[in-house]
Amino acid sequence: MPKKVVSGNYAAAYAAKHARVEVVAAYPITPQTSIIEKIAEFIANGEVENLQYVPVESEHSAMAACIGASATGARAFTATSAQGLALMHEMLHWAAGARLPIVMVDVNRAMAPPWSVWDDQTDSLAQRDTGWLQFYAENNQEVYDGVLMAFKIAEHEKVNLPVMVVESAFILSHTYDVVDMPEQEEIDEFLPPRKPLYTLTDFENPFSVGALGTPADYYEFRYKIAKAMEEAKKVIKEVGKEYGERFGRDYSQMIELYKTDDAEIVFMGMGSLMGTVKEAVDMLRSEGYKVGAAKVRWFRPFPKEELYELAKNVEGIAVLDRNFSFGQEGILFNEAKGVLYNTDAKPIMKNYIVGLGGRDLTVNDVKTIAKNMREIIQKGKLDREIEWYHLKR
């Protein structure tokens, strides 16, 4: 299997190329730019065929052009970040509502003001109700694998919904690492050409997409998206398993469990910070802590069942949120706690707000959090529900 040393962004660009995307419409925004630059290079070097590249005038138009392309039957791809994703927001609803399997890479970047180009999950999590599936990558390999799987899942006949593959600004987007890339023929077997649900080129049976939905019908349209999201869970697991069988990296779990079998305390989070957490788990284990890590790979659809299975057997869950919903709490914490309310699994849960705007979360930080969690479990009582971990006082 060919290996390449690439940045997270290049991993995304190679994956789009290997997925044989037909239309790329994109607008530059830091730190996403090198994805679309690399794709332009592929075209300039004659490495891709039948790829139309539309250098649009805004992210809003990037998504609109992808929507037009996808509705015409093409495999469409784009990438963005932070403010760009926020500008796209309206069209994200449109892509999901028109049931278009567009794949987009979002490079997690903090929202302004103040201006920041560094890692923070608030941009993508703010899109959680748009009907997009969301996959959070821990490393460059997962960015690559995530994009390839995303197309297969998005285009599955039971799903037909767009997918967002999320990677961290700079921590992944601009950091080079070894990435395994299967041979093109193997990928073609895994990901055959798209068979669209409908296309606008059907002149024999012309129809309209996105027409007015009166109160008599709108409701059912929403239900069908809700249903497709539920179906997507099965498809994600199947595709993840198939990916493992073909390429050796198994993604059949929506939550990746690391040393959780006998764990009393589990650190839960998403994206690149979970690499640090896993390392900390190893060190803490050697110091006698019974800890594990639960990396939430898919935030939408939310892996309720897997979370419940995990929560049944642990005493405490420390949810690490690189995001915050003002007026409430960290978004993953909020979701995880909500899932467990009507179950008999009631571990102590604490929300640690970490790493906003690109601040580092180190192995030592995770150790401090582990100590704090152990104290809480010993006392059987939370010191506080939300802790802004790095706050300067």
């Binding site: 037909e22 239309v23 419409a25 039948n50 790829l51 139309q52 539309v54 250098p55 649009v56 005038e57 805004s58 809003h60 138009s61 990037a62 609109a64 052009a65 992808c66 929507i67 037009g68 392309a69 996808s70 509705a71 015409t72 039957g73 093409a74 469409a76 309206e90 069209m91 449109w94 028109a98 606008l200 080129t201 059907d202 002149f203 012309p206 129809f207 309209s208 997409v209 996105g210 027409a211 007015l212 939905g213 009166t214 019908d217």
Partner: protein, 311 residues
């Protein structure tokens, strides 16, 4: 239905209908008429993109459509971008775009969705040179939203947010000249057209089909509801708009301007003839009418000069 030969001879437009009965336009709607002509011109071999506007409703609610052509409804400001994406996809997938046997990609948007919120996407579409046609049907206000002013609303017009009244809060700005903004992009083809002159409109639609690159047509489409005009006067009003030079017909191609007026050598009729048929202008004072008349003639002279210099 087969027509007798003598009737066929008299037809100047394709007989075939691709815009079906049962659409939900108001009586006397210029937009509905315009859409019917576009469908006739392309014989159903066009992909339509319609953003939020009257035509969203006119085409019919789910699961109906009055258009015998594929139709994608999209967000208000995205027509230019969506047609760009459709064109790119057709090319990526190897379809023939444009020409007699090719697929026409048509954006059909109102003046609000074009002159205001959609201007950026229109600009991007033109500048990137996509092989598609963008038609702005101009009824000079946000009609579907309840007759609010757009930047295409003319000076002195009543709308629900420029309501006239004692303080004279009528529209105070001249109509934005979208066609000039379009021409500044040096498109392959740009033209104005009117529902009162369907042969001229049809010819322009056919031209857009043969020319490589982006085309734009600004179609004058009366709105009896918003203009407070009798429903049987739409064509007369549209014709007067041309005859008074309020909305002159012309085309731009390869840097050249060509005026296509029905009677090119006639002096424009007085603007008042056009204004008096519409309730939306009834609050205008004598001075207002003079201001608008002066603006119209000045613009007309300017256009004639362009046609002389770049004809």
């Amino acid at each position: 239905m087969e027509l007798p030969a003598d009737v066929k001879k008299r037809l100047t437009l394709p007989f075939e209908e691709h815009f079906y009965a049962g659409h939900t336009a108001c009586q006397g709607c210029g937009a509905a008429l315009g859409l019917r002509y576009v469908l006739k011109a392309y014989g159903g071999k066009a992909i339509f993109t319609i953003p939020a506007c009257c035509s969203t409703i006119i085409a019919g609610p789910w699961p109906y459509t009055a258009l015998n052509a594929p139709l994608f409804h999209t967000a208000f400001e995205t027509t230019g971008a969506v047609i760009s994406g459709i064109e790119a996809a057709l090319k990526a997938k190897g379809y023939k775009v444009k020409g007699e046997d090719g697929i026409m990609v048509v954006g059909w948007a109102g003046d609000g969705g074009t002159a205001d919120i959609g201007l950026q996407a229109l600009s991007g579409f033109l500048e990137r040179g996509h092989d598609a046609l963008y038609i702005m049907y101009d009824n000079e206000a946000y009609m579907n939203t309840g007759i609010q002013r757009s930047s295409s609303t003319p000076y002195g017009a009543w709308t629900t947010n420029t309501p006239g009244g004692k303080k004279h809060f009528l529209e105070q700005r001249p109509k934005k000249k979208v066609i000039d903004i379009v021409i500044a992009h040096k498109p392959a083809y740009a033209a104005t057209a009117s529902v009162a002159y369907p042969e001229d409109f049809m010819r322009k639609l056919k031209k857009a089909q043969t020319i490589k690159g982006p085309s734009f047509i600004q179609l004058f489409a009366p709105c009896p509801t918003g203009w407070r005009s009798p429903t049987d006067k739409s064509i007369e009003i549209a014709r007067l708009a041309v005859q008074t030079a309020y909305f002159p017909l012309f085309e731009y191609e390869n840097g050249k301007y060509k005026i296509n007026m029905p009677s090119p050598n006639k002096e424009p009729k007085p603007l008042e003839e056009y204004l008096k048929l519409q309730g939306r202008f009834k609050y205008m004072t004598k001075e207002d009418i003079e201001i608008l008349q002066e603006w119209v003639l000045k613009e007309w002279e300017e256009l004639k000069k362009k046609a002389e210099l770049f004809g």
